[in-house]
Symmetry: D2
Subunit: 480 residues, 4 copies
C-alpha cells in the first residue's frame, strides 16, 4: 500500500506536500519522496524512512515551485531499496515527467516483457516503471494524450499523479480500486488544487474536501484551468472494501462515508451476527488498539457491555527495535501491547480486532489476555476470514501463509486457543458500509457486495493477474 499527494497553485507546494504526506504516513512508512516543479524544471528528493526523517528544512528548500507531487511507500518484504522510492522522475523526448503511484498493475510482467523486447531498460523492480516507458514510447504528442495512451495499456489498480514542468494529471483506474480524492486550499494568493489518497490529508493543511475522483476519471490541471475526462472503457466500480476495515485512517472518509462510522457499524453488526455465548461473570469488550477501537465501541454499545482498554499500546516501538537474543526471545507483540490486568482479571473478555492474517499475533494476544487472568477469551473479527492475496496494491502474504485459506473457523479458534471466534459476514460488512453512506446522505448502493472489491475475502477478482513471466525469458533482476 502507498499514499499519494499532489498540489497545484501554491507558493509553498513542497512544504504543503510534506505535511500532506505526513497525514498519509499510515499508508507507507518505508520511503517517501517529493517532486516539485517551478514551471521550468522538476526537482526531486527521495529517501528511506518516515516523512519527517526524509525531509530536512534544507531538503525542502531544494524543491522550489508552485506545484508538487509526493509519495509514501509501504515496507514490503524484499524490495526495500531507494531505487524503488517514488515519485519516479525521468527525462524523455518531450521533456521531464514524474509520477507517484498507489496500486498494482496486474499485467505488469506482460507489458514489461513487451517493452524490453522493444529495447527498454529497467532500473527498478517496481511496476511503476512501465508507466513512464509507455508514456515515452507513445506516438501521441500532448502529454495528456501520452498519459491516456500509457494508462489504456495497463490493467489492475492505479491511483496515480503525474507532474511535468508545466502540468499536473491525476488518474484513477476504471474500477477505482484505490481511493483518490480532490480538494481545494484557499490561501492568500489564490486557490490551490489538492489531490490525495485520503481526505485526512486535507484536514491537516486546512484544505476542503471537494469529492472523490470517480473510477476511470482523469483530471488535468494546467494553464490555470482544470478539466475532467473519462478516456477509458467504463468498468464496474470496485472500491477496495478493506480500506474501510483496516487501511484508511479512522478520521478519513472513503467515497464520502466516514471510516470511523463504518467501523463502529461493523462492530454493531458483528455483535448481532456473532454474539457472545451466554455465561456467568462480568463480561467486557476490549479492542486491539488502535485499529480495533471503533469496532469495539460499536460492539460494546450494541451488546450493552462495557468498553474497556484492556490492552495498552506502547507508542515507542519503532521499526528499529532490536530484540536481544538468547533466553529472552520472541517478544513481538508484547513490546507493543501490554495487558491491563486490572480490567481483565476475572472477566469474560471479548476482544475485537479487524482481521486475522497469519494468526500468530492473534494467538499471542489471546495468551496474553488469558495470562492476565481472563476467565474466557472470545475473539471477534470485524471482517470475513482473509483467504486470498490482494493483487491490487495491498502487501499480503501468500495463500500458504494466510491461516484462513487453509483452516476452518473452528481450526483457527483452536489455534488461537480462544473460547470462541466469530467473523463478520461479507454481506454484513458490505451492508455496514452501505448504511454508513446513508448516514452521510450518499446515494444508496444497490448491491453493496458487488460494488466493492472483496477478493481478499471471496477470491472473486475483478481483474485477473497476468504476471507470469514467459518461460523462455533469461534470468534477470539486479538485486541491490
Amino acid at each position: 500500500m502507498c499514499g499519494v499527494f499532489g498540489i497545484v497553485g501554491h507558493p509553498e507546494a513542497a512544504n504543503i506536500t510534506y505535511l500532506g504526506l505526513h497525514a498519509l504516513q499510515h499508508r507507507g512508512q518505508e520511503a517517501s519522496g517529493i517532486v516539485s516543479s517551478d514551471g521550468d524544471k522538476l526537482y526531486a528528493h527521495r529517501a528511506m524512512g518516515l516523512v519527517q526523517a526524509c525531509f530536512s528544512p534544507k531538503d525542502l528548500s531544494t524543491l522550489p515551485g508552485d506545484q508538487a507531487i509526493g509519495h509514501v511507500r509501504y515496507s514490503t518484504a524484499g524490495g526495500s531499496h531507494i531505487k524503488n522510492a517514488q515519485p519516479f522522475a525521468v527525462d524523455y523526448s518531450h521533456g521531464s515527467v514524474a509520477l507517484a503511484h498507489n496500486g498494482n498493475l496486474t499485467n505488469y510482467e506482460n507489458v514489461r516483457e513487451r517493452l524490453e523486447a522493444r529495447g527498454s531498460i529497467f532500473q527498478s523492480s517496481s511496476d511503476t516503471e512501465v508507466i513512464v516507458h509507455l508514456i515515452a514510447m507513445s506516438t501521441q504528442d500532448a502529454v495528456e494524450d501520452r498519459v491516456i495512451d500509457a494508462l489504456s495499456q495497463l490493467e489492475g489498480a492505479f491511483s496515480v499523479l503525474f507532474l511535468t514542468p508545466t502540468g499536473f494529471i491525476a488518474a484513477r483506474d476504471p474500477h477505482g480500486f484505490r481511493p483518490l480524492c480532490l480538494g481545494k486550499l484557499v490561501h492568500k494568493d489564490g486557490n490551490a488544487i489538492v489531490v490525495a489518497s485520503e481526505p485526512t490529508a486535507f484536514e491537516l493543511i486546512g484544505a476542503e474536501y471537494t469529492r472523490d475522483l470517480a473510477p476511470g476519471e482523469l483530471l488535468i490541471v494546467g494553464g490555470g484551468e482544470m478539466r475532467s475526462i473519462f478516456p477509458f472503457e467504463k468498468k464496474p466500480a470496485k472500491a477496495c472494501i478493506f480500506e474501510y476495515v483496516y487501511f484508511a485512517r479512522p478520521d478519513s472518509q472513503l467515497g464520502g462515508a466516514s471510516v470511523y462510522e463504518v467501523r463502529k457499524a461493523l462492530g454493531r453488526r458483528l455483535a448481532e451476527e456473532q454474539p457472545v455465548p451466554s455465561g456467568s461473570g462480568e463480561t467486557i469488550v476490549i479492542p486491539v488498539p488502535d485499529s480495533g477501537v471503533p469496532a469495539a465501541v460499536g460492539f460494546a454499545s450494541a451488546a450493552g457491555l462495557p468498553f474497556e482498554m484492556g490492552l495498552i499500546r506502547s507508542h515507542y516501538v519503532g521499526r528499529t527495535f532490536i530484540e536481544p537474543q538468547q533466553t529472552i526471545r520472541h517478544f513481538g507483540v508484547r513490546l507493543k501491547l501490554n495487558p491491563n490486568r486490572a480490567v481483565i482479571e476475572g472477566k469474560r473478555v471479548i476482544v475485537i480486532d479487524d482481521s486475522i492474517v497469519r494468526g500468530t499475533t492473534s494467538r499471542k494476544i489471546v495468551k496474553m489476555i488469558r495470562d492476565a487472568g481472563a476467565k474466557e477469551v472470545h475473539v471477534r473479527i470485524s471482517s470475513p476470514p482473509t483467504r486470498w492475496p490482494c493483487y491490487y496494491g495491498i502487501d499480503t502474504p501468500t495463500r500458504a501463509e494466510l491461516i484462513a485459506a487453509n483452516n476452518s473457523v473452528d481450526q483457527i479458534r483452536d489455534y488461537l486457543a480462544a473460547d470462541s471466534l466469530g467473523y463478520l459476514s461479507l454481506p454484513g460488512l458490505a451492508q455496514s458500509v452501505s448504511a454508513s453512506r446513508t448516514l452521510a446522505n450518499l446515494p444508496v448502493l444497490k448491491d453493496p457486495v458487488a460494488s466493492h472489491c472483496h477478493a481478499c475475502f471471496s477470491g472473486d477478482y475483478p481483474v485477473a493477474l497476468s504476471r507470469q513471466k514467459s518461460p523462455s525469458r533469461p534470468p534477470r533482476h539486479v538485486s541491490s
Copy 2:
C-alpha cells in the same frame, strides 16, 4: 521525570534491563543508560534518545554480568546533554559505584556548595552528582553505611538504585514521593530480584510484582540475600498524586492500585462534580488521546453518554518533526491530533483531558473541535487546576507560565474559548484514588488528601525548597 530499573541474579541482566527500560520509556525519552556488573567491574553505556536507539546488540554485548541498573531520562528544557545521562558511574576510594535516580533533591544547592567548599568538583548540572560525592566522602566503611550516610543528608524526592561490583541497593525517600516497586523473575537458573519505577516493567519481562518499596525503605541485595531496613527518620507518606492522573502508564499499579481504574474513577467523579449543562442536541464524550481515554470511559459511563474517539492521534510524530516555515506555521498539536469530523459534527462535545498546563494546547484542541462542526465544546479536566511547580522531579514550567496560577477557572474557560470548563476537586481526586485502592483490597487511607503530595494543585509542599545559591558565590556552570 525519569524511570529506573534494576535486576540482580540473572545471566542476561543487561538485556533484561534494556527491556525493562523500554517498558518505562514513557517516563523519559531524552536519554537512557545501563550499568552492569560482573562481580568484578562495572560496565556502562549511555546515549541520547529512545531506549531502542541507545542500545545496539553490540552495545548490549559490552555489558556483561548478572546484575544491572538502568535509567531513562526525561527531556528537560536546557540540560539536554550526554553528561547528564544516567546511571552515573564513578570510582572512589572503596571502588566503583553507579546510581540511577528518579526524583529531585530540594537541598541540592546547599549540599553542593558545602561539597565544593570541601574541594569537590562537579562535572554535570544534575543534582544526582552530589549523591556520589557524599558516598565518597562518608567516613563509614561498608558501602551500605556510606549510602545511608549520604542519603541521610539529602532532602526531597529520591527513588534511587545503586550498583557496585558486588552489591545492589534500592532506596526510597522517607516521604515516598516517587514510586519504586519490587518483583521477582523466575528463570531457568534461579530467581532474580527486580526493582522498577512501575510494575508495568515487570509484565514485559515476565516477572511478578511483589510489593512497593515503603517510604524510607532501603533494600540491600548481595551475597545471595536481600535485607530491608529503614534507616531514615520516619516522615508522613506523600506519594505523588499526579502519577495517578497523568504520569504512570494506565496498565501500571501505584501503591497496589490500578492506574487505569483510578483514572476511570476520576472520570466518574468528574461527571458527578462537573456535569454537563443541559442543552439540546446529541451529546458525546471524547478523550484527548491517549492519556484522557480511561477518564473519558469513566465519565461517559457515569453520565450515560456515548464514548467516541473524536480526536485521532497520529503515531508518527516523533521528536524530530520539523515544521516548514513561512505561511504554514504553528501546526503543533495538529500534527499529532486530528478531529474526527464524522462524530463531532453537529454534536455537543465533552472533551476529557487529564490536566491543563499552559493552556495553549487545550485552546488549539477546543478550536479544532469547534472547526470540525461541534455545536458546543465542554472541557472537563480529571484533576484540579495545576497552580504550582513541582519540586520533586516533574519538569513543570514556572508559575508565570501555569495558566491556572494566574487565572480563575472562568478566565481559563474564556481563554480556551470553551462553552464550559470544569476541573475535578482535590478531595474528589484523592477519594477516587482511595476508592480504587479498596477495589484492590488495599488498606483504607484515613485521610486520602493528606496521604499524598498534591503540591502542584495546592501549593502545600511537604519539603521546602532550599535551592537558592549563596549570593557570594562566583559565577559558574560550564555550558556544554
Copy 3:
C-alpha cells in the same frame, strides 16, 4: 576522471574489487560501487564517498559470486548524486547487464536525442546511461554483439567494463584515450583475470600485470576462456598524455612506462628547457607535494641543486573541512600546505608543480613561500600551459577559467607574483614520455607528440565534440 576494476574467476570477487578500487581511489573520490555476479543474478551496491566509507563488511557480504566490476567516480561540479554513481545495472530483454565507464562520450547528446525520439527514458544525467540503452535496443542476439553494436555508435573516450550474470567484457575505445590494463591473479583455487585502469591496483591484490589493452580492443571472458577482438574501425592511438603528468599514481605504469620515471624525466627536461636564471645566494628545488615530488627530484638532480621539502602537506584535510567564517577566511591551500620556513628562509627557491589551472592556488603558494622568507621564487611547471578543456573524461574548467587560455606566460608570472615562470614544451613532454618507454624496453614511438592526446595543451582534438542539444528540444533534466 574515474577508475574501473574488474575480476573474473575468484571466489571473493567483490572483496578483491573493493581492494582494487581502494588502489584506484586517486581517480575518483565522490562515489564508488561494485556489481557482482554469481552466475545467475547481478548484485549491486553503490554509495557516495571514499571506497572505505562506501562498503561495510555487511555490504560486501551482499555481493556474492566469482566475478565483479567496480567503479570510483570523480567529484564533479554539479552532478554529485547517487543516481550517477556507477556501475550502472539494468534489466533488459536479454537479462541483466552492468557497466563501469571511465571516459566521456563526445556524441552523447546526439545519441541521447535519437534514443529519446525512439521512446527511451533517462534517469541520470550521466553519459554512461546511453550505452545501456544502445545495448538494449540492439538487434543483435549475443551480448558480445550487442555491446559491439552499442560501442560502434559512440564517439569519444571509453574504457569500459561490462558484467552480465554469465560473462564479462572489457573494451577500450579506438583511440585508447583512457588507460586500461590486464593482469592475472593466481589463487589457491585457480587463476583469475583482472582488469583495471592502472596496474597499481594489481600490486595491492598480489596480481601480475600482463599488458595494456590495445586501443580498440574488446576482451571477452566467459565459459572459462578469454578472447580478444578488434571490432572497431582502426584509429590512431591517442593515449592521454596528462595521465603521465598528473592523474595516474606515480607507482603505476602507463603503456608499460613508469609514471614516476616519466615525471622525473619531465623534471630533468624542464631543468634544461627552463633553467633558473643565475643569481647570488643558495638555491634550492622544492616540490608542491605530493604530485610535484618526482619532477622536483629530476629537476634537482639535472640542475645539480639540493632537493628539499619546502612545503609540508597535511594528511588530515578531508573534503568535509569547513572553514569558519568572518575575519579568518580563504585558508584554502594553507590548510593543506605549510611552508617549511627553516629551509626556505633566505634562499632562492625553485618550486616545481605539474600544472597551473586557474592560477589561484599557485599564486597562494608563491605568496606563502615568499612570506616564509624566500629571496626569490621561481615557478617551474612540468607540462605546457593548460589552455583547453578536456572532452575525454577529465573534469577541467571552461576556457574562461583557464589562466593560460587568456594570458601569456609573462602575464601569468605577474599574476603569480613569481620572479620567473617556466613551462615545459609539448615536444619536451612527449619526448620525455618516449624516453621513459625506452627505459622499459618498450618500442620506440616514431612521433611522440602525435602518439598522444594533448588537446588540453594544444587544442588539437582527435575527436570533435558534438554535444550541442538541438534547439527545438523541450527543457528537461530532472534535478535531484
Copy 4:
C-alpha cells in the same frame, strides 16, 4: 601524545583554536575539544574523531568569547571514550575551570589514591582528572595559587593550559618534557596571545612565534597583562628527544631548532655512522614516507647517492578502513604504502625510517621492497634502538613488545630479513640536534645527551614512575 592550543584576546577565539588544533592534528586523532570563555562562563564542546569532524559551524557558534583552549587527543589502546576527551571542564567552589593537558603524570596513582581517601570521585581513567581535584582542594585563594599548589604536587610531564571565565594560565613542568611555545597574533582589534604545542599552529593562523616556554615556567594572562613566574623547584631540562625524531611536524621548531633540519642532520650523521656496505650495482636511498623523508634527503646527500620515492603512500587510508576477511588478509601496511617497482627493481636499496617499534611493519616493508625486485635491502634507522617504554606521554607498547628490548641488532636484522641494519647512536642523535641549534643561532648545549630525555633509548628515566596501586585497594575502574 596530545596537542594543546590556547588563545587570549581574539574576538573569534574558538574559530582560531579550531584552526590551531587542525595544525596540531598529527599529535592526536582520536578526539578533540574546545572550551571558550566569554568572561562570565565557560562553553565546551568535545567529540571523537578528527578536528574537522568534531566541529560543525554550528558547534563553533556555541563557543563564544575572546579566549579559548583546545586539545587533540591521541588514539590509545583501551581508553578511547568521550569521557577522556579534553579539555576537562568542571565547577568547584571558586567557579569553573577547564584544562588541556599534554603529558603524563608519573605519580598519578599515588595522588589519586590520596584524593580518593579524602573522598574524591573519579569519572574518567585519564590522569588529567587529578589536576582539577587538586585545584579544587587547594587552600589557596587565587586561581593562580591553586594551580601552582596543584602542579607542585605532581611529577612527570605536563604542558598544560588552564582557562577560567576570567583568566588563562599555561604551565610547563620543571623538566620541560613536552614542548609548549608562545606567540602573538596581531588582528584588527588588537593583539592576541597564543600558546601551542608546536609553532606550526601559529603559521596557519598568521601568528608569530615568540619563544618556547621555559621548563618550569607558568604564564598567567588576565586583566590585559601577561606575567611569567617560575614557582617550581628548578630541575634539569629534559626535553623529549623523540619529538625531533618522529613526533613533531617537520615544519615545526622545537626549542627554536628546525625539526626538518634536525632530521636531515640525523640522516647525514646516519650515513657516516652506518654507511652502506660496498657492493656492485646501482644504489638508491628511499624514505619510508612521510616521516622518513627528511632523514633520507640528508642520508642521500651525505652518501652521494640518489634520493628516490621508492615507496608511495596512499592518502586515502583512514582509521575506518576495514579489511575483508578470509583469504585476503593482513594487508596492513600495504594499504598505505606501495612499492614503486620502476625505481626499486634491480637496485641496492637503502630504506630510511625513523624508528622500529615492534618490527612487524618494518618486516613487511622489507619484504615489499624485495618483492618489487630490489637486489639488496639495507635498513637505516635515524634513531637508536627503542628499548624502553615512555612514561611521559608517548603511547608506546610494553617492553615485551618492543623488538629492540629483547633482541640484538643482528637478531632484528634477521627478523626483518634485511641485508643490513644500522641504527644511529644516541650521541649521534643528540649532537645532530645540537648542531641544528647552532644553525638557528641558539645557545650551544654543553652536554647534548644530558640535555634531553632519551629514556626510550637509554632507560635513563629522569623521573621514576610511581604508578603502582596499593595492593589493598579494592577493584575499580568503570569500563565504558
